[in-house]
């Protein structure tokens, strides 16, 4: 059997890397762009030189001037100072489903027959990518039970926004746009379930959980009514708790004339286990960069695959991908007069869809179910180990099992030692693990920690992670100052001036702003 190793002697690369601008020497070059042929130059002359006054560049941009090897080395150093999830047991980023991102899918996305396709090519020259869109939509329909999907939204929050736009159109067509101006969500649903509908113009009503952590049906009944446009709700919520009354929630909102959206960002654990449509939802979305094994890219590009029932399909963003039954030819359908229009350019993040398709067909129906089962089993194994650590608790849902993740609380340890979750999460980085995700704001669970040991982590990864947490809990008693000063072995040390990040006279989000504010310019 493989061993379980706590990496006590780990140290991340620390290159003490200068800014790329500090590597610059005037006249040095990193790459030479292709020059036009002499015949072209002879024929047309200096075209840019003929530009009208006021639009011709007056001063060269102060970009870095660095040779190619040093540009490469600089970014390789920065890469080594970044802990991507493929490098380690990144169950740290709970709610994010940091599963293995297969290398073969990167090779497929780099295939010139995909990478060099322009989305406005004639449909006949894009039959490959259109087929992948079409077939992946069928996969999403099977997984969710929904009737149609759009693969255009660029992420989960964007899918939630897209649904809110469609819900707005739906109520408008029923003459109720003015009246139905409220979207209900829960505090343990992702912040975008509040922020995205708010951006679409809705007022937000947020339900707090009951004392046992479950969503509060009575609270819902108290706020639902003629103003209700929709509910946007996650299940399981970010606590890992599955809401067994979910059908009741849907029914209460539907009876009041509202629409029901299921944020399936935490849907990895439900693949082949439960379909959102069967709980009565009208809309849902899956994050392909989470559940479908697409790399997160440092936060995108991603895709929020958004599904709906047939009744709402006419509002989907254009174009949809269709197949001609007779010829089997795939085509883009722009002729959708009731569409909400465009929410993203072109076809969306096509590379994300391609990778997702490849992952799904590799897994097949049994593999998708195995994915869900192992994510639940891994989490419960992790919980079994972690609940023995003094000072940590898993608040709520006493006597029930969590599905794919858990929002833990270090409150007891903090009260005993003064070491809080922000200290512990920094310290985790000293063992070759990503700093874990505490919680979105506001913290409802005190001193929170959200861990999602999805299916691609091994038993040994889980044991390693739990052992690291146990060690840090012990350190909080024996050497609390050391933990508070963490990290010690990451690419850089602890920030020294948090307040400056909120001070407009000090903050600097670009090098030119930094130089100016430091008096270097």
């Amino acid at each position: 059997m493989a061993i379980t190793k706590v990496r006590k002697n780990y140290h991340q690369a620390r290159w003490d890397e200068p800014m790329i601008f500090e590597l610059s020497t005037p006249g040095v070059r990193g790459i030479i762009p292709p020059a036009p042929e002499a015949e072209i130059v002879a024929a047309v002359g200096d075209v840019a030189g003929g530009l009208p006054e006021g639009i011709r560049r007056s001063a060269a941009p102060a970009l870095p001037e660095v040779d190619q090897k040093h540009v490469l080395a600089h970014y390789l150093h920065l890469a080594q100072e970044t802990l991507g999830s493929n490098l380690h047991a990144d169950m740290s980023q709970g709610t994010c489903t940091m599963k293995y991102n297969p290398r073969v899918n990167e090779d497929l996305a780099a295939d010139p027959r995909f990478a060099h396709v322009h989305p406005w090519q004639d449909d006949d020259t894009m039959q490959g990518i259109l087929q992948i869109y079409y077939e992946f939509e069928q996969i999403m329909k099977a997984v969710s039970g929904m009737d149609r999907f759009t693969l255009q939204p660029g992420g989960g929050a964007h899918a939630v926004f897209t649904a809110a736009s469609m819900i707005r159109a739906y109520h408008r067509d029923r003459g109720e746009a003015e009246q139905r101006n409220e979207v209900i969500t829960t505090m343990f649903s992702h912040p975008c379930d509040a922020a995205s509908p708010a951006t679409a113009g809705f007022k937000i009503v947020t339900l707090m959980p009951k004392e046992d952590g479950y969503p509060d049906l009575d609270a819902l009944k108290a706020v639902v009514g003629p103003h209700t446009a929709a509910i946007h709700i996650t299940n399981p919520e970010d606590t890992g708790i599955y809401n067994p009354l979910i059908e009741e929630f849907v029914k209460v909102v539907r009876d009041a004339g509202g629409v029901c959206f299921n944020d399936q960002a935490n849907g990895n654990v439900l693949l082949g286990i439960a379909r959102t449509r069967d709980a009565g939802f009208d809309f849902c979305h899956y994050n392909l960069h989470k559940t479908f094994a697409v790399p997160h890219g440092g936060s995108g590009p991603g895709t929020g695959a958004m599904g709906c029932r047939e009744e709402f399909a006419k509002y989907l963003p254009y174009p949809t991908v269709e197949q001609d039954e007779g010829s089997g030819r795939y085509y883009l359908d722009f002729d959708r007069p009731e569409s909400v229009g465009k929410i993203k350019g072109f076809l969306g993040s096509a590379g994300v869809v391609l990778r997702s398709y490849a992952w799904a067909v590799m897994m097949g129906p049994k593999g998708l179910r195995e994915t869900a089962e192992m994510s639940a089993l891994n989490n419960n194994y992790f919980m079994e180990l972690v609940k023995r650590i003094p000072g940590i608790t898993a608040p709520y849902a006493e006597g029930h099992r969590r599905l794919e993740e858990c929002r833990w609380s270090w409150q007891e340890l903090t009260e005993e030692t003064g070491v809080g979750t922000d200290d512990i999460l920094r310290r985790v980085g000293d063992f070759g693990l990503q700093h874990y995700w505490s919680s979105h704001h506001p913290w409802v669970v005190p001193e929170p920690m959200t861990i999602e040991p999805c299916e691609t982590f091994s038993k040994e990864d889980i044991e390693e992670y739990a052992a690291v947490l146990a060690q840090i809990a012990e350190e909080a008693h024996t050497d609390p100052e050391m933990v508070k000063l963490a990290p010690h072995k990451c690419a850089v040390r602890k920030r020294a001036a948090e307040e400056e990040l909120d001070d407009p006279t000090k903050w600097a989000t670009t090098w030119r702003a930094y130089k100016r504010k430091q008096g270097m310019a």
Binding site: G30, G128, S299, K342
Partner: protein, 463 residues
């Protein structure tokens, strides 16, 4: 009994490992966990999805056979642009974007993910130098979203709720802006373009720019290719009525075109795909939004903004979230719009691209593109019945070509070009019917004289 399925991506799928874990948890089956889900909501049976294609080699063959049905701009000569551009992708950019460290990172803190934060900071810093603006967001989805964000920011800054948009904006982008802008800017008006030059009609702008208008949005070059040199006059008119100037600008033009900060643009936005990101059927997009670092602008950014900050080690650069309270991660519906997974990897790639190119590379690539596009326009204009460029303003890489005099539609021309392995320009006859049978052609540094002459030769043959 059949052997259990063991999955290369699921280490604990080995039966013995699974059994050990179940024993440790004290349950007999994973079904004991799923008992949390009411039985009637459980999905019974097997999902109707294809696969498994368990072998990586077989999967590769399967997907490659599907991709082989595509034609691409390597095999064909492509003249499509309109927001997705066939520019050169340097190998160093590809190498860095493919690194698992960056590729598979997400929202880790600026300690274990320090390098990602620095790479993003440097990307924003390089773009800031092109624009001469001090604040650039972490990338949003694409140009449409960036333009929508820019006008929503302008609505909040000005306290007004109507937008004016140049008539030459791409209809798809406008649709995106309207859909996203709706709640803040329910009223959209259009400022006409001069039909001769393709530039903003200043008289029309003057007439429509009232005290109710939050923002005037235009593009430079415009969607139809015209380089707008009236920026200062536009700014004077808009600022004179207390409005905000927002402009969509393709950053690859900025080695030869003036920094927008110098002609009165308050909020610049656009797409970074031009900067070394492959087209990928439209999947290579990334939106930037930039302003000066003044509180009234900065406060309105919805995106994460990464700032450089000291650590406890003297001289060490650390990074952190600047003014995080703005964002929906901190403030839910009270935030400035919403935030989510967007396009950060493309920001890193664009940063590497700009670091490689430097000021000289950006100037040369811009000059060379303008020479190639001018050459092609001249050659096309010499063909019987073809007019190029249709608009008289200077152009960068895109220009309108009209085929009215040939008696053929753009659709017919493009069909014939396709047979000769050429993707003709974007057919504008639906979007801009006033231009007749016209197409938007795009020329970049990837085109050789041979490519351009091949197009001209093919047209000569068919027309």
């Amino acid at each position: 009994m059949a052997e259990a399925d063991v999955y290369p991506y699921i280490p604990n799928s080995v039966p013995e490992v699974k059994a050990q874990m179940l024993r440790a948890i004290g349950i007999s089956s994973v079904e004991d966990i799923f008992a949390e889900i009411p039985d009637h909501l459980r999905f019974k049976g097997e999902l109707d999805v294809p696969g498994p294609i368990s072998s990586e080699y077989a999967l590769r063959r399967h997907v490659e056979e599907i991709l082989a049905k595509n034609k691409d701009c390597k095999e064909f000569i492509g003249f499509l642009g309109g927001g997705v551009y066939n520019h050169f992708v340097p190998s160093v950019v590809t190498t860095i974007m493919e690194r698992d460290e960056f590729l598979t990172s997400y929202v880790g803190e600026a300690y274990a993910d320090h390098g990602k934060w620095q790479a993003q900071f440097e990307y924003a810093s390089c773009l800031a130098e092109l624009l001469e603006m001090d604040a650039v967001n972490t990338p949003t989805y694409d140009w449409g979203m960036a333009a929508a964000t820019a006008i929503r920011m302008a609505a909040r800054i000005s306290g007004r709720s109507a937008a004016l948009v140049s008539a030459s904006v791409s209809p798809d982008r406008l649709s995106c802006m309207k859909n996203y802008g709706f709640s803040a800017l329910p009223t959209f008006g259009t400022v006409e373009m001069d039909p001769e030059t393709g530039l903003v009609d200043l008289d029309d702008l003057r007439a429509k720019m009232t005290d109710e208008i939050a923002v005037f949005y235009y593009e430079n070059p415009s969607f139809l290719g015209a380089i707008e040199h009236q920026g200062s006059q536009i700014a004077e008119i808009v600022h004179g009525r207390g409005g905000v100037v927002a402009a969509g600008i393709d950053p690859i033009t900025l080695g030869v075109l003036e920094a927008p900060a110098r002609y009165g643009v308050d909020i610049a936005c656009g797409d970074i795909q031009s900067l070394g990101i492959p087209m990928s059927a439209g999947g290579g997009q990334g939106g930037y939004v930039a302003t000066q670092d003044e509180p009234k602008f900065f406060h309105e950014f919805p995106a994460l903004m990464f700032g450089v900050t000291p650590t406890i080690v003297e001289g060490e650069y650390g990074f952190g979230e600047v003014f995080f309270e703005r964002t929906s991660y901190a403030s839910r519906e009270q935030a400035k719009d919403f935030l989510g997974t967007m396009a950060q990897l493309h920001g890193i790639g664009a940063g590497v691209y700009l670091a490689l190119m430097g000021p000289q590379g950006m100037r040369e690539v811009g000059e060379g593109i303008m020479q190639r596009s001018a050459y092609l326009a001249r050659q096309l204009d010499a063909l019987d019945g073809v007019k190029a460029p249709v608009l008289s303003a200077p152009f960068f890489k895109e220009f309108v070509v009209n085929f009215d005099g040939t008696g053929k539609t753009v659709a017919e021309v493009n069909k014939a070009l396709l047979e000769r392995k050429i993707f003709g320009g974007k057919d504008l006859s639906t979007w801009f019917p006033g231009l007749g049978q016209s197409a938007l052609y795009c020329v970049t540094e990837v085109h050789t004289k041979g490519d351009l002459d091949a197009l001209v030769g093919a047209l000569k043959e068919m027309l």
